[in-house]
Point group: C2
Chain length 408, copies 2
């Protein structure tokens, strides 16, 4: 472990949910997918305070209903079970029965109360879970050979091309507090969390209401500011567990290190969100839109989301075309009252629109910038003091290819 100074957030790019004290994780293949790992778990040594945020889609999948109902009992969980390959969504009464049964089976294996197990699913919509395979998997998954954080991160993936992980450490009350995260998500990603699962663990000591406040705040700035294709799925959720093993004085908004904790949590969630955006189906580039000078945070977010959601902007960036007109047009239909003459738009370091007019650009220079893997679009509205950042990806042939054939 490196030493570090107060107020510092130390980042561990290769660590994840098992870095915080008292957590273990694992994964295996139980037969929902053809070959790849498809069942994973996170377990805390002791019950952990939990906060969750869930999809706004009206058709919430069965596991979301079961998990929310269970969490409502004590605001505590001790374990999370995830399967990929089948979303258990649009599966009616039987889907609910199945989700409850999985929860019970895994609780029995762990010897804990049922409502301390959160269940989550991702994959194809509208097919019942193959319960025999799942139950057989649950009986084996706690065996030592499956215990490996790396297995968990694999088991949660669907069309993802890579795992998404990060961890940080901060010092609170002289104790090292760790926060670790793993996520999946590639298509059906849109502000308000679409086919996206996020799992964040921490050993911090923090009460439920403050944990929930922190998660909601940070989610609005991170997971809710990414889009791949504008579709919001039935299964999204982010769960944040805090088991208190770091033994700091309980964190509240009044604690002197509250901001440091929020900052650490934001680093984790922003990193996961950007990794999801960058791994958007078929994507070749991460696009980051920074909006400043808005008259409200919501206005800044609306402008950022309009740009990052525009198929025309996304295809132009794929084609390394410095087509600023599409960016300006997206700002114009964002619903935010803009003053064209005070607007300034830059692509990377190149101003492209200012004082109501295009700026002279050397097209080849901007084109060269657009060949990079991370593209920044900067928007200054000059209307106020609020800002927001949104992330997305380019729209490519491969997006069409993946989604014209993959059955979600």
């Amino acid at each position: 472990m490196p030493t570090f100074s107060k107020n510092e957030v130390v980042i561990f790019e290769e660590e994840s949910i098992a870095l915080p004290a008292g957590y273990r994780a694992g994964g295996m293949h139980c037969g929902l997918k053809r070959k790849k790992l498809d069942l994973g778990y996170i377990v805390s040594d002791v019950p952990a305070t939990v906060a969750g945020v869930y999809t706004t889609n009206i058709f919430q999948a069965a596991p979301l209903l079961v998990t929310q109902e269970s969490i409502a009992k004590e605001n505590m969980i001790q374990a999370i079970l995830v399967n990929s390959g089948n979303a258990n969504a649009c599966t009616g009464e039987q889907g609910l029965i199945d989700a409850f049964e999985i929860q019970k089976e895994f609780a029995n294996e762990l010897g804990i109360k049922e409502h301390l197990v959160a269940v989550t699913s991702t994959g194809v919509i509208g097919e019942l879970l193959p319960m025999d395979r799942l139950k057989a998997g649950i009986k084996q998954i706690l065996h030592e050979e499956h215990e490996d954080e790396a297995n968990f991160k694999q088991a949660i993936l669907t069309t993802d091309t890579c795992i998404k992980q990060i961890a940080v450490q901060i010092t609170i009350d002289g104790k090292i507090v760790s926060i670790g995260g793993a996520a999946k998500g590639s298509g059906m990603i849109h502000p308000n969390m679409a086919t996206m699962l996020g799992f964040v663990t921490t050993d911090a000591n923090i009460a439920h209401e403050d944990l929930l406040y922190a998660l909601k705040e940070v989610t609005n700035q991170t997971f809710n500011m990414i889009t791949v294709d504008g579709d919001t799925s039935t299964n999204d959720m982010v769960l944040l567990m805090a088991n208190g093993i770091a033994d700091n004085n309980q964190l509240t908004k009044e604690h002197p290190d509250w901001d440091l904790f929020m900052n650490g949590l934001k680093v984790v969630c922003e990193s996961l969100a950007k990794k999801i955006a960058k791994d958007g189906e078929g994507a070749t580039k991460l696009i980051e839109v920074q909006v400043g000078g808005a008259f409200s945070t919501n206005a800044a977010r609306a402008v950022g989301k309009a740009i990052i959601s525009s198929n025309l902007v996304k295809t132009a960036i794929y084609g390394t075309d410095p087509n600023w007109g599409r960016i300006v047009s997206a700002i114009g239909y964002s619903g935010v009252p803009i003053e064209p003459n005070t607007l300034k738009v830059s692509i990377g370091a190149f101003p492209v629109f200012e004082n109501g007019l295009p700026c002279p650009i050397v097209e080849a220079d901007v084109k060269k910038y657009l060949e990079l893997e991370t593209i920044k679009i900067l928007v200054e509205l000059n209307q106020g003091e609020y800002n927001a950042t949104a992330w997305g990806c380019d729209l490519t042939y491969d997006y069409v290819k993946i989604n014209a054939s993959y059955r979600t």
Copy 2:
């Protein structure tokens, strides 16, 4: 001319804006595009009452500002001048000066007042109009060799692969009244009219306020219910001219044939809207979503637009994949409070979701249906008596190809 009975709307698929009495149209190549026609006009023998609807994008292009200001003077125009190849958008003060100058030049050629000329542009954003070429074109365009409705329909196109036209005739007060339409639009098409130009002419006698009411009503049911890519452009407008030459008693909402006129206008606008959706950039199919049983018209429209705007639904249909889960998911995030258990969804004649559960389908049958050129998705909400129809197209490799390189 065929004879027809009262209340009948007779459709002329091969006619357009010059069918109504007293209109002529033409087009030519003036040099905005490399080879194709790029300048067109419609002229009425006498000043015509006019109604217009315009883009909601804040960055309205210069010609829209000029046209709206001119129409506001008398609610009459006698001529429309259209150029393609350059949108005269995001061009600041000079763009406005140029638009006014074009208006003046064409008015001089016609010998009419400037404000009786509407000007419209479509094409690349952010470049000044090449005024020399445009002015040279305006001096020649009224020459006999350019007068041809077919030239007009060509001159307004950008990435369109075909012209869009239709005309109808109805009988009002024993007089034959004709309504003709031509439109362009292919990309940047979204509810609320994106890079879409629509021109509708009629020889009906109708007052301005009723004409505007009729156009707004019909636009909300037709042009505002199509989407290609969710982007709303800076230049959209639909202009409806009525020169009164048919000599019917002035149409008002109290006229016994008001509904017949509305019906005729709707047939024209719906046909043009569907042709635009079908010619969406890279599209291979027209998708029609019919939503019934909503508790309000707005709710029905929101559900229809959510489905038709979903990249995931659009790619699935391109891939002839009966992926009803994506349709249900889009309904779920439409913002309309849906009752999952009363929802019914069909793809063509095949029910796919009912009573909160997937319906058993023979996948090969639905797949075969999805190979057709027009795909219907039927949604019954069973919550009320309102309905709406939305149109769009599939999302294909060619959409990406066109937009990764074409500079709009």
